[in-house]
Amino acid sequence: MMATPLVVSDVAKSFTMHLRDGVTLPVVTGVSFSIRAGECAVLGGPSGAGKSSILKMLYGNYAVDEGQIIVQHGGGLIDLASASPRTVLAVRRHTIGYVSQFLRTVPRVPALDVVAEPLVERGEDREIARAKARSLLAQLNLPEKLWALPPATFSGGEQQRVNIARGFITEHPILLLDEPTASLDAKNRDVVVELIAAKKAAGVALLGIFHDLDVREAVADRVIDVTAFAAGKIAA
């Protein structure tokens, strides 16, 4: 495994709002950093500084205007900023995992299968994937009676735990975390801190956004100050 699986250099992002006379909202510019295997870096800065936008670009969910996102993938290096949709999908399947803030639920799929799905997609046997999903959901204290139900009607904290289990079940070498602890109680926050520590020990490169100071203190090896990449004030 390479020591630095993710290198971001000179990335810029803006939104052009065509419905508002083509006004351009700059988000970030000159974003440059790298993440080493086994470390957890945290994006810091106030709301609106572009932390989530950076994570979304790293996952291919937002387009990149300028710069490169070099990822160690499948034995080579690829630039995610210019990769084809098909390559981005392969990177998501094998290299970059992502725990979003909110769970996007699919009708009728039970929580257990929502969690097991990323492993099944990577070719794991369904029963082995489910067994691993059970153990993660138990570790995150999600009541067992919920496992067979679709998460659409779960509470915010329950959905977030399903989402975390789904994100942590695979062994992606890079893991992006967008406020994974926002709606959790102290006990479950501690579980997430343990899960992150285990990923670090396994050599995963983690990049996250954590507004919770205790969690941030507990997991961050360093903070990347996003205000350094400010692309000017957003004209409202």
């Binding site: 419905l19 969910n61 949709p85 981005v88 999908l89 009708p107 009728r108």
Partner: protein
Amino acid sequence: MTDEPLLRVSALSKFYGSRVGCENVTFDLWPGEVLAVVGESGSGKTTLLNCLSTRLLPSSGTASYRMRDGLWRELYRMSEAERRFLMRTDWGFVHQNPADGLRMTVSAGANVGERLMAVGDRHYGRIRATAVDWLSRVEIDEDRIDDEPRAFSGGMRQRLQIARNLVTGPRLVFMDEPTGGLDVSVQARLLDLLRGLVTDLGLAAIVVTHDLAVARLLSQRMMVMKDGRVVESGLTDRVLDDPRAPYTQLLVSSILQV
């Protein structure tokens, strides 16, 4: 997963006289990939689908398909009989209105069995057993097998049409607004069913829809069409979460929030 596409479309155009149906459409589709084509009525998405499925011949451009034997064939140079055979075996076409894709006056079992007979199966018991199996996969009770689709609800008819299309194990399925005209709860059930079948069978599919939620749930990639042209394409979640083209921004901003 193979590294070769299943379908290669290059500079496809269809004109109706001087009017543009679709113009200069180019893309590749890989095995197991679901591509959504979105846009409002008149954007050319159905014209494109009909050209791709050879129900309509384009004015210019090419489309090549990788056959089961691995050989590439140019679709518009095949004979009518070859195209019909492809359509009956290796392809499926799910119409918005099930009545267009089903025979309404023969039984549900016969609707499914007919496609099997078209590929040469003549064994009645085996055909019936396969039909029963497929009806259950689309959640239709076995005791409805001898009923005509006329007696089915809209959602059941659509599920039957899907079974009829998938029974021959196609590699590519075209879908034209597969959930259009159904109640929301029926839609959700159908979408979930389609999503599961597409994943389990590793199907490639081209889904035409004006419903962005359907596109998000079913597809990995998306093309947005306006006035016959592709105005934006990319990963489905990228196009929906960070739309770049003015028209895509308008479409996305027009979704009603529930």
